[in-house]
């Protein structure tokens, strides 16, 4: 999951970046609205966290521009001015949720999780696909009701695929959303993760959840269970 954080307060931005990277996200950050807009338009993010009080280009204008230019990823706004005029303006401009400063990192994580989940069309914290159930809050996988251990990268791959079910996800898209820009992107490593995931999700090869589309990428082929 690749995130964009736009926050002008250096200390706070650094701590947010660190906390979210620790939580397994790939994080880009910008300290002003203009850089934020550049990143936001240039890369395909899974979600963005944008402070409303930004230098050079304020948060509301940034969000409006991103939406006008067709960027649909969920946006979480941070606001120090705890008033409804600002909150409603931000949500009106195209943001999806808000967090008022100061905040607990857990709250940011929870809101982000919910936003990512909702963006993929899931109303509940768990992503349910037949026998497979991924709890995005506790970051745990259950297969046929039994817990299955996943490594951090395996979890990331599975979560991304589950949030884009039925859609062909290229290897480059996957790496972009799983790794930092400066990370060594070896697609062989990705293939290893996918192979291991297949074994854990479908030991008897009856479900075949992850299909390889030759030359294009992967597709998650199980239909989500509706509530």
């Amino acid at each position: 999951m690749r995130l964009l954080i736009v926050e002008d307060e250096d200390l706070l931005r650094a701590k947010l970046v660190k906390a979210l990277e620790d939580g397994g996200y790939v994080v880009d950050s910008a300290s002003n609205g203009k850089t934020g807009l550049y990143h936001g338009l240039e890369y395909d993010y899974d979600a963005a966290i944008i402070d409303l009080g930004l230098p050079q280009l304020d948060g509301i204008s940034l969000i409006k521009t991103l939406r006008q230019r067709g960027r649909v990823y969920p946006i979480l706004i941070l606001t120090a001015r705890d008033n409804w005029t600002d909150k409603v303006a931000g949500l009106d401009a195209g943001a999806d949720d808000y967090v008022v400063k100061p905040f607990q990192i857990e709250e940011i994580r929870a809101r982000l999780n919910a936003l990512l989940r909702r963006a993929a069309g899931f109303a509940k914290p768990a992503l349910d696909f037949g026998p497979l159930s991924l709890d995005t809050t506790a970051r745990r996988l259950q297969v046929n009701g039994e817990a299955v251990e996943l490594t951090a990268y395996e979890y990331k791959v599975l979560e991304y695929l589950m949030l884009h079910p039925g859609k062909v996800v290229s290897k480059s898209e996957l790496t972009e959303h799983l790794y930092d820009q400066d990370h060594d992107r070896d697609s062989n490593v990705l293939e290893v993760f996918v192979r291991r995931l297949r074994q854990k999700l479908d030991p008897d090869e009856s479900l075949k959840p992850i299909e390889t589309i030759r030359g294009l990428g992967y597709r998650f082929n199980v239909s989500p269970s509706k509530r």
Partner: protein
């Protein structure tokens, strides 16, 4: 002892000017009437005297002494010969003995006791004429002229006296009077009406100014527009400047408080995030961290609450523009629908397009945002808001289908709201802000049970 002063102040400019000019007008017309009446009366009387004098000369011209009496063969004036005609002639000697009387005076019971001063004709010196008034029973008022002559043949003074009824003259004067007062009355009425109209016209710009100011007060207009007479231009210009300054000042003040909030909250956020990093670290045990987190949260709430209060206290509703309520409610509803998308709330907004709030838009936003946020938080599947207007009062109802608030807790909920600086950490300051705002606008807030099953907040503002 100020009540008299207040009474004086109560008269409008128009009333003052009208009363002052009105009194002056009546006084002037009254005096002018008196003077005219007197002058007319005098001229009429003078004419009458002159006529009497001429009658006397005529009598003197035809009078022929006949022993002790006089003989006047032809008096020329027919009325002397006609009995009770109202014109009477006498000739008396120096002692007042009657020597002749005109046939018209045969019935006249006049004792010419000239010595007694009871208005009866007097005896003048030779060549002089005296005048006087006399009242006789059956004859009414008579005016007389008495002329003294010297007859050389008799070597004696004789006095010619002519009396004439003054009734026709009096009638003439009365008619003049009534005419005079009729015309003066009409003139006064006309002038008063004209004065009233002139005053209205002259004071119209002031009335316009008052209307414009009240239009600003009700928010229909931003500033004093239209052309005013030169005397008022400095006033309107300064008023406009004052209004503009005050609006700018309020805006600056809000901006300043917002910046203050931003610059206080961000360090708090940094501190809070730093504290998170220590989680699990050996330097700090759980209890210490918990204490610090709690204190940070309290600081945050106090900052929020006091800043909001500062904005609220510094409020001038006089200059506020009216806010259309329906679109504002729709905006909040759609914003909250995003935030609580997982709940998939059925929402309903009932507000006519004409419903307005006379106050700051941000205040209404704050108030509705907090109450509706509460409804979304506690409601199960439905939230409804309705607004209507009673005069300048805005009535809002917000309800949900949540668990509601028990009757014995309702007062407590609002009371806790009213003393939000004492709230424990974990409790929001939303309701506190609502209660504070409602009281700042002199409104009221009630909680009861909604037909939907949950809580219903009824708020009246202004």
């Amino acid at each position: 002892m100020s009540p008299p002063a207040n009474d004086k102040l109560r008269y409008s400019l128009q009333t003052r000017l009208f009363l002052a000019f009105g009194v002056l007008l009546i006084l002037f017309l009254g005096l002018a009437g008196l003077v005219l009446e007197r002058a007319y009366q005098e001229s009429v009387e003078a004419a009458l005297r002159e006529r009497l004098q001429l009658q006397i000369y005529a009598l003197v011209g035809v009078a022929e002494p006949d022993g002790a009496a006089f003989y006047l063969p032809d008096t020329q004036e027919a009325r002397f010969s006609q009995i009770d005609s109202g014109l009477y002639g006498f000739i008396v000697d120096a002692e007042g003995r009657e020597r002749w009387r005109s046939p018209s005076a045969l019935n006249l019971n006049l004792s010419l006791n000239l010595a007694e001063d009871d208005g009866a004709p007097q005896i003048p010196k030779v060549g002089k004429t005296l005048y006087g008034n006399l009242s006789l029973p059956g004859q009414g008022e008579l005016i007389w002229a008495s002329y003294g002559t010297y007859w050389e043949v008799q070597d004696q003074q004789f006095n010619f006296i002519v009396l004439e009824s003054s009734a026709p003259t009096a009638a003439q004067i009365r008619e003049f009077q009534s005419n005079l007062y009729l015309w003066f009355g009409a003139l006064a009425l006309f002038l008063l009406v004209a004065q009233l109209l002139l005053l209205r016209w002259g004071l119209r710009p002031l009335a316009n100014l008052a209307e414009d100011v009240s239009a600003i007060e009700s928010g229909e207009r931003d500033e004093l527009q239209g052309s005013y007479p030169v005397e008022l231009v400095p006033v309107t210009r300064n008023l406009n400047l004052l209004i503009k300054r005050e609006r700018e000042r309020q805006q600056r003040y809000r901006g300043m408080l917002g910046d203050l909030a931003h610059s206080l909250k961000t360090p708090l956020a940094v501190l809070s995030a730093a504290l998170q990093e220590l989680r699990g670290g050996a330097n700090l045990d759980g209890r210490q961290r918990h204490d610090m987190e709690e204190q940070l949260e309290r600081m945050d709430q106090i900052v929020s609450y006091q800043l909001k209060r500062a904005v609220e206290v510094n409020r001038s509703r006089l200059l506020a523009k009216p806010v259309a309520v329906a679109p504002l409610l729709e905006r909040i509803m759609s914003a909250l629908n995003k935030v609580y998308r997982d709940k998939a709330m059925q929402t309903r907004v009932e507000a006519a397009a004409t419903v307005q709030f006379f106050g700051e838009e941000s205040d209404l936003m704050e108030l509705c945002g907090n109450v509706l946020d509460n409804a979304f938080k506690y409601g199960a599947s439905r939230v409804a808001v309705s607004a209507h207007q009673e005069g300048r009062t805005l009535c809002l109802t917000v309800e949900d289908d949540g668990p509601g608030i028990a009757p014995d807790k309702r007062g407590w909920v609002l009371e806790r709201g009213a003393r939000a600086d004492t709230v424990r950490s974990g409790q929001g300051i939303g309701l506190a802000v609502v209660v504070e705002l409602v009281s700042a606008y002199g409104g009221e807030i009630r909680i009861d049970e909604s037909p939907l099953g949950g809580a219903r907040f009824s708020i009246r503002l202004g």
